[in-house]
Amino acid sequence: MTGRPSASQEPHLPGVDPAWSRTVTAPDAEGRVRSWHVLDNGAEPAAGTLLCVHGNPTWSYLWRGLLAAAPPGWRVVAPDHLGMGLSERPGRHEPPRTLAQRVDDLGALTSALGVRGPVVTVGHDWGGAISLGWALAHRDQLRGVVLGNTAVHQPAGDRGPVLIRLAHLPLVRQTACVWTPLFVRATSALSRPALSPDVRRALAAPYRSAGRRRGVGDFVADIPFAGEHPSRAAVEAVAEGTRTLDVPALLLWGPRDPVFGERYLADLRQRLPHAALHRYEGASHLVTEDAPQYADAVARWVRDLDAAPVPPRVPDQEPRSLWSALEERTDDLSPAVVEVGGARVSWAALDRRVRRLAAGMAAAGVRPGHRVALLVEPSADLTAAVYATWRAGAVVVVADKGLGFAGMRRALRSAAVDHVIGGRPGLLAARLMRLPGTRISAGHLPGPARRALGVRHSLDDLAATGRHAPMPAEPAADRDCAVVFTSGATGPAKGVVYRHAQVDAQLELLRSTYGVRPDDRLVAAFAPFALLGPALGIGSSVPDIDVTAPGTLTAAALADAAAAVDATLVFASPAALRNVVATAAGLSGPQAGALRRVRLLMSAGAPVPAALLESLQEVLPEAEAHTPYGMTEALPVTDVSLEEIRKAGDGDGVCVGRPLTGVEVAVSPLSADGTAGGEPVTEAGRTGEICVGAGHVKDRYDALWATERASSRDPGWHRTGDVGHLDADGRLWVEGRLAHVVSTPRGPVTPVGIEQRVERLDTVASAAAVGVGPRGTQALAVVVVPAAAGPRRGPSSRLRLAEPGLADAVRAAAGTDVAAVLTAAALPLDIRHASKVDRRKVAERAARALAGSRRR
């Protein structure tokens, strides 16, 4: 083997250290000596080697980020296949190389390179199959496999990815792949966001002439769509062999890939059921280009390979099943769930319905661990479906309309559901979203609609079947039970997975914190809680509103819902409560009377201003007002009453009270650059990322391995992404989102305290504090909506300079150096809660205004 620097004759290759590039001579599968180009970081492989295998029509350049991010002790080797990249072009008369030859070629090359193991293979596109072929042939060296968007299985008769299929027609192939650079250029054009011209040029650099591109066409020709194809047997051997791989596996996926779509991911997951998965939402086929952070994820993952597993947090109490209250009240004819103006379902009827549905679902093929999407409006039907799914051992997937159609589609596709239960609108949406899974209709649909929507069963059919079908075994407490989604206010909504024991711990915490007794009755105008009444063992009613538009809840609708169950507890979001206060004048005598019987009001979703809680006392005079702090991943974490908010007074941030019994709260202190690196501490006055440890914290993020790894990197703690501090009395103060911390040269500055102080000015209606400029040296801008703002011309997103008087007042109130005070007609709010200011958007607008004219 010889090595000499190469690629030096190539034009500028952004991201490549020239020292990585070399040419190696080594025999191919047939023993003929060839010249190969390899990127090799040359590290001493004390821990192992990452063998990176590119696909078509890319080359080793694809892996530059992984070479740069290599963890200590890991050698990273990325060869170019023969005929590809900067490797040797086989002679004109040689037949195209087959998959089997390419696998053997790679084996011959790795031995020439002195690769011994442990090896983690990394493959993308058709490099996935080649890397797995190598893995199966080198099991003694294999430590793990990593796959990007790829496929290993082409079932006979499967038409294959449409685009590749098209490129398979000889004339099209020659035209698209060889005679013109269409395929080469089109591949890098798939990237989202678009690649820089430099990178696109570098990706196409080895394929500048038809002669240089011959391998690209040959590669396409080697994809076996037909049974008699020479590579068919080799592909099938790899596909079947993959099932036998018992090494750790990591799948990194770009869901916007028009070539390798969801079904290829599903196929891989079924072959490698233990594989960790991270879906990079928004990324396309070239996942390494679209989500360059993949390199850090791989580096993290290989470092974790030899780390000891962290034992999970064990809940304190013996878990009860989520339907235990139903079993205890089998004969109870009092109402369990009441729809306003609709059905009243007794405990006895609900229990019966749930048991029959569970048995019917099991008989219809709903298996333990299956995922069931619930696209049903809040109703008694939905409640029964949720508990039946749980009882059958399956997992409910709940994505609400607040995410918007696109957000909901992203969420539900990422959850890889096995079944969909929905009314007509829900099933129609499922069809438009092209969700997989069998369709179950809630309510009766006429025949044509059933056929059009592909409905296999209705809930009533299943309940009827369930009368005589055996009850499935009860799921264990450590099985998954729910996938719910974060608000999506800061990027795509994240799936959050809970196990039975964790939901049970949450219920127990709610019961103990709010002293819930069996004779309490609940009105929940807050999406997830609307389902929890039966599990809490109390009657519940659903107000007649769109739960995804909480701001439309009127005082009368709330009162009617309260009257329906004679409610003692009300759970609602701040937006809903604001409207309740605004519409209180319209209450009739009996309605006001129903609200007078409510003993406790819990408001969740966003911090509730004390002034709003005070106004609510007039509507709900007997209710003790509580506002908990929490998030989709852990709710509740703390709780505070109006009384305690008054006592705490003003401070830097929003006082959200003390951690609940059994809940640990700590902060990971902010470093100078505004990131939170340190171990969680409970020292008073330290500002940092809020970390939560408790039995009801989420199990994990779904299909987001890297996000999960980062959020739980301190064993036993969940990093919330919020920043705040604990005070000397143990109270938690929330100061904003970690992503919104302004990193100034004087250190990190959190936004909420500044905004609160500025909003206390009579001249200011609302304020947002944001940073502009590079991290570590950001300038602080405060954008305010002036009180009594007159009508303004121009778009509302246009920011203007505040008048000197206002600017001086804001600066004086802010208490820290403010570079600019700008005014806006309104601040952008996140769509989901309509109550949190979208500071990222404000920051973008401020950055645009403060950069000035972009004219050259």
């Binding site: 400029g773 203007r800 600019a820 950069a851 004219s853």
Partner: protein, 326 residues
């Protein structure tokens, strides 16, 4: 320490010489006309080797500020004062064995017209610098930094928009125009610009003299590190001087067009007075200019001691005490 300050008749040169004197250094100043400072003076052209040689003899350090600063004029004049002058100072340091040189440069040497948002001190780039002043200073900075060596430690310090009492360049011009009711704001006036109060810039140059040796061979931007919207800066300067602030608004594009037109007229007619607007100025007034100060403060061990508020107060007091200055 024995220090030569070139260009001490300007506001910053004067402040630097005084700061060095105040701490007990033996200061000599070099410029064309007497500066009226209580120290030894060498009078003459900074591009004249004899003059420079006399000034540099026996010095421990030189702070080189002498430069032609203007928006009009012939390239040859800029090249002579700024490029040749710097070459002579470098040559003089080598000939006389002066071990430290602080070359005073300008952030405009690395500015190609884009907004500078928390920018680092990029390399001086004469090809893209805008106008004769910036281009000549870019060449000069490269001359100075290329001379950095074991025997001669060189820093290029780029103070950004220096202002303060007695300023005849920036403040006086703005105030005069505002007083005449002819100070427009181009565009929305929201572009963030950073400025430097003169005493801070002087202190930074003194710090650079001291730091020269432990670190050297790099360019550092110096500013107050308090960026503000451009209209606010103009308003505050006017308020301090007791004149009405900018009132007229001109769209940004109109400013650029007008700047281009004015330049064309001045070039065609050969006028030598200061034009009301140039494209460079229009650009300066409509794009952000503020800088990452972390490296500067780390290397120089310096921090601005006069913040904007204090600076405006001092300016206001100065205008109140010297009405003739208007």
């Amino acid at each position: 320490m024995k220090v030569l300050v070139t260009g001490a008749s300007g506001m910053l040169g004067r402040a630097t010489a005084l700061a060095l004197l105040e701490r007990g250094d033996e200061v000599c100043v070099l410029q064309r006309r007497p500066a009226g400072l209580p120290c030894r003076e060498v009078l003459g052209d900074v591009a004249d080797p004899d003059v420079v040689g006399r000034g540099l003899a026996g010095q421990d350090a030189v702070v080189h500020l002498a430069a032609k600063v203007d928006v009009v004029g012939r390239w040859a004049d800029y090249a002579h004062a700024n490029v040749e002058g710097t070459r002579e100072v470098v040559a003089g340091c080598r000939a006389q064995g002066v071990p430290r040189m602080v070359h005073v440069s300008s952030p405009s040497v690395a500015h190609a017209g884009r907004p500078l948002v928390g920018a680092a001190a990029d390399r001086a780039d004469p090809r893209h610098a805008r106008g004769h002043y910036a281009r000549s200073k870019a060449v000069a900075e490269r001359v100075a930094l290329r001379a950095d060596s074991e025997s001669l430690a060189v820093f290029a310090v780029r103070p950004h928009l220096v202002w303060g009492p007695g300023d005849t360049q920036l403040v006086a011009r703005i105030v005069a125009r505002a007083d005449a009711g002819r100070l427009p704001v181009l565009g929305a006036g929201t572009a963030l610009i950073d400025t430097t109060y003169v005493d801070n810039a002087g202190a930074a140059l003194v710090a650079a003299v001291d730091a020269c040796g432990t670190a050297h061979g790099e360019a550092l931007v110096v500013s107050n590190g308090e960026p503000r919207p451009v209209r606010e800066v103009l308003t505050r300067l006017c308020r301090a001087a007791g004149v009405p602030g900018p009132r007229r608004r001109v769209p940004a594009w109109a400013g650029h067009v007008a700047g281009a037109a004015v330049e064309a007229v001045w070039a065609a007619t050969g006028r030598r007075d200061t034009p009301p607007l140039t494209r460079f100025l229009a650009e300066q007034l409509t794009t952000a200019h503020w800088f990452d100060q972390r490296r500067t403060r780390e290397v120089l061990g310096w921090r601005p001691h006069v913040d904007l508020e204090e600076g405006f107060t001092r300016l206001s007091e100065w205008y109140a005490c010297s009405p003739a200055s208007r």
